[in-house]
């Protein structure tokens, strides 16, 4: 469902006003798109979740939300001639092209809707739709099963785990089977609530993984923007639910960080919730800054970056910020542990490489690496002995 841009120049005379009649910047659309927009509005009144988000966000253009940090409105890379600027608006199941005229009015020139936009529960589509799913252990408790949630809300259960999956999975079941295992490492050994009540899954369809070492800034990832708008709406609706944990798995970090950016732009805070990044494929530092802005309750450990040196560096780059924030549990002690652990994770490969390559210089480097590792171990041992002594003498 798309309409071509008509040949004659667009002006207030040959376009119709759809929003901003009384206040704000007027928004127009070309006459071919008027029925599409009306249908969208009608669906929004009937509580269609995607349409409701779409109408709300398109109307929000009247307030002029076109900042550099805006996640779902992106300017076209090359400027078109004639003083009017072109923007792309990414929304769940929909992509719109908006032109800003020099007189600061907006005109929607293109609306591309997903083929199954209005069919919420269609048999073939149920597992491939962007949105929130309830995940539960299936019959005989051997694999995960997901069910699409029409209004996109998380279960109003305190302490709910919400997994934000990477894209690149064909169905939500597949995403659940793969991501929930990773997200559960956040809970540590106590996974009983997830096994009994299940958890929620935010699913992003797509052919490629999100983010990478090349595309490490989450705000530059394009294919997750629509999904982030949906997740932001879900997060905002879940504000009243206590202690919800939003856990991003692999490339889900791009979606979650973008959603946090949207909420930060809106000025929403989520003091009851927490976030965690399991093996993020985008920068955890960026996400941490946003987490502080959203007043999220961050745990001592904020991300598991595994063996990624870049992830470790990214985490260290915000350590000072975390220590200065009084509401962050991260402290000097944790920092020392993290630093030594990081040193070990980087020094061990160097030590191994040195042993393999050989040579006198390499041996020296290897011994340095081993020394760092040794300091780490003795630090850890010292800590546990100190804790023991403190406990024994009730210090």
């Amino acid at each position: 469902m798309s309409a071509p841009i008509s040949s004659q120049p667009l002006s207030p005379q040959n376009t119709s006003l759809i929003a901003g009649q009384s206040s704000g910047k007027p928004i127009r659309c070309i006459p071919e798109l008027k029925p599409v927009y009306l249908q969208l509005q009608k669906a929004a009144h009937r509580n269609h979740h995607w349409a409701r988000i779409a109408v709300k966000e398109l109307n929000a253009l009247t307030t002029g939300m076109l900042g550099k940090n805006n996640v779902y409105v992106r300017p076209e890379s090359r400027r078109s001639s004639g003083g009017s600027e072109k923007y792309y608006v990414f929304l769940p199941g929909l992509k719109a092209t908006v032109v800003r005229w020099p007189n600061d009015q907006f005109c929607i020139t293109e609306l591309v809707l997903d083929d199954n936009y209005y069919h919420t529960h269609r048999s073939g589509q149920e597992q491939t739709r962007l949105g929130t799913y309830r995940a539960k252990l299936g019959p005989n408790n051997s694999s995960w099963h997901t069910q699409y949630v029409e209004d996109g809300q998380v279960s109003p259960i305190s302490g709910r785990l919400v997994t934000v999956a990477d894209s690149h999975y064909e169905t939500a079941n597949d995403a659940a089977n793969y991501s929930i295992a990773g997200a559960m490492t956040f809970l540590g050994k106590n996974t009983i609530s997830v096994r009994i009540d299940g958890c929620d899954l935010h699913f992003t369809p797509g052919n490629k993984r999100l983010g990478s070492l090349v595309c490490y800034d989450p705000i530059t990832v394009d294919s997750s923007r629509a999904s982030a708008v949906h997740l932001a709406a879900t997060m905002e609706q879940a504000r009243k639910v206590r202690s919800v944990a939003w856990v991003a798995d692999f490339g889900g970090s791009a979606v979650l960080t973008q959603a946090m950016q949207i909420l930060a732009n809106k000025g929403v805070t989520l003091p009851d919730h927490t976030v965690y990044f399991y093996r993020p494929r985008t920068s955890p530092a960026k996400a941490l800054k946003l987490a502080h802005q959203l007043k999220l309750s961050v745990n001592k450990n904020f991300a598991d970056t595994g063996l990624s040196a870049r992830g470790a560096l990214s985490q260290f780059s915000v350590a000072g910020r975390r220590m200065n924030n009084k509401n962050d549990l991260y402290d000097r002690n944790e920092h020392a542990t993290a630093w030594l652990k990081g040193a070990i994770s980087i020094s061990t490969p160097i030590g191994v490489a040195a042993a393999v390559v050989g040579g006198p210089a390499m041996v020296m480097l290897g011994s340095i690496a081993t020394a760092i590792g040794g300091v780490g171990v003795s630090y850890a041992v010292g800590q546990s002995v100190a804790q023991d002594v403190r406990r024994r003498f009730k210090l």
Binding site: D115, H121, R122, S123, K136, N140, D151, T171, D174, N207
Partner: protein, 301 residues
């Protein structure tokens, strides 16, 4: 083993084109014996070969009898809100089906075998699951508890998530009453049905029955949402595994079967089973709560 040169488990050039995928060979697959209160259930299935290695298989130690050797009995299945059933999964495997020349995983077949009985808080003494009429009522209650309560929340809480049982079929190759059927997922109207679970149930003792569950997951669809590949290999493997299931009754179970047979006559269940009225928040099952069920089951028997 399948042809690993043409059908490798690699997804370097993913395509959603019409192909015939290949999965594990059934010939030469091992037979797994499962012991249940002296009876022996055998199932032949290929080795576990999932698409994602995080999906682990479930197995039982050889010779271990879950009903006799486990001191605490079955664990109550907490995923069902009613908490009336105890479930122990004895066997679960997945098999991935790959398209030719690294065109990606097309689908997966999941099979599991579980033994199910009433939980300790909701026992049903004095009845025998071998009685076909009792077993039918029992399956009805089980399906209500397992699937019936799920609905499309919010404004659509009157619309059930599942529809079933459909394609009810009784089988005569086991010495006990047995039936297979499908549970479908459904959308707003009954036109939007899709197959979810294929179930096969039969009793193994007076208080326990076995549920064999097959689930097919499809990963390759074209732009219209239709299947983009031929699913017959998946169905074939499922049929072969299904046909391989055998049951040898132990002496105790044999005695109770004889007793029921002399009392009722035929051991066959009814030929038709209409889909149940779901969701249960709109249509509460008539006999809910433990004493009433017991009375209903007694009347049936």
């Amino acid at each position: 083993m399948r042809n690993f040169i043409k059908y490798p488990p690699i997804e370097w050039r993913k395509r959603h084109e019409s192909t015939v995928p290949a999965g594990p060979f059934f010939t030469g697959a091992p037979t797994i014996p499962l012991y249940l209160a002296g009876s022996k259930v055998c199932i032949t299935a290929p080795r576990h070969s999932p698409r994602r290695s995080v999906c682990k298989q479930k197995s039982t130690y050889p010779g271990y009898d879950v009903l006799r050797d486990s001191p605490a009995g079955l664990h109550t299945d907490l995923t069902m809100p009613s908490r009336r059933w105890g479930v122990a999964c004895l066997f679960a495997r997945r098999w991935a089906f790959y398209g030719p020349w690294m065109s990606g995983c097309k689908g997966e077949l999941h099979a599991s075998v579980a033994v199910i009985g009433r939980s300790d808080e909701h026992p049903l003494p004095d009845i025998s699951f071998f009685n076909p009429k009792v077993f039918e009522t029992l399956i009805m209650h089980y399906l209500n508890d397992r699937y019936g309560y799920e609905n499309w929340e919010g404004h659509h809480s009157h619309v059930p998530r599942y529809h079933g049982p459909v394609d009810w079929k009784i089988h005569r190759h086991l010495p006990v009453p047995s039936a297979s059927f499908k549970i479908c997922g459904r959308g707003e109207s009954l036109r939007d049905l899709y197959l979810r679970d294929y179930l096969f149930v039969f009793p193994v003792s007076d208080q326990y029955f076995v549920e064999v569950c097959f689930i097919q997951d499809f990963y390759s669809r074209d732009k219209k949402g239709n299947l983009a590949f031929d699913k017959t290999p998946i169905q074939e493997l499922q049929d072969k595994i299904f046909r391989s299931i055998t049951l040898e009754l132990g002496p105790e179970a044999q005695a109770s079967v004889e007793k029921v047979k002399s009392k009722v006559g035929s051991l066959h269940m009814c030929k038709d089973f209409a889909p149940l009225k779901w969701p249960t928040n709109i249509y509460p099952p008539e006999a809910s709560g433990s004493p009433e069920i017991r009375q209903a089951l007694r009347n049936d028997a």
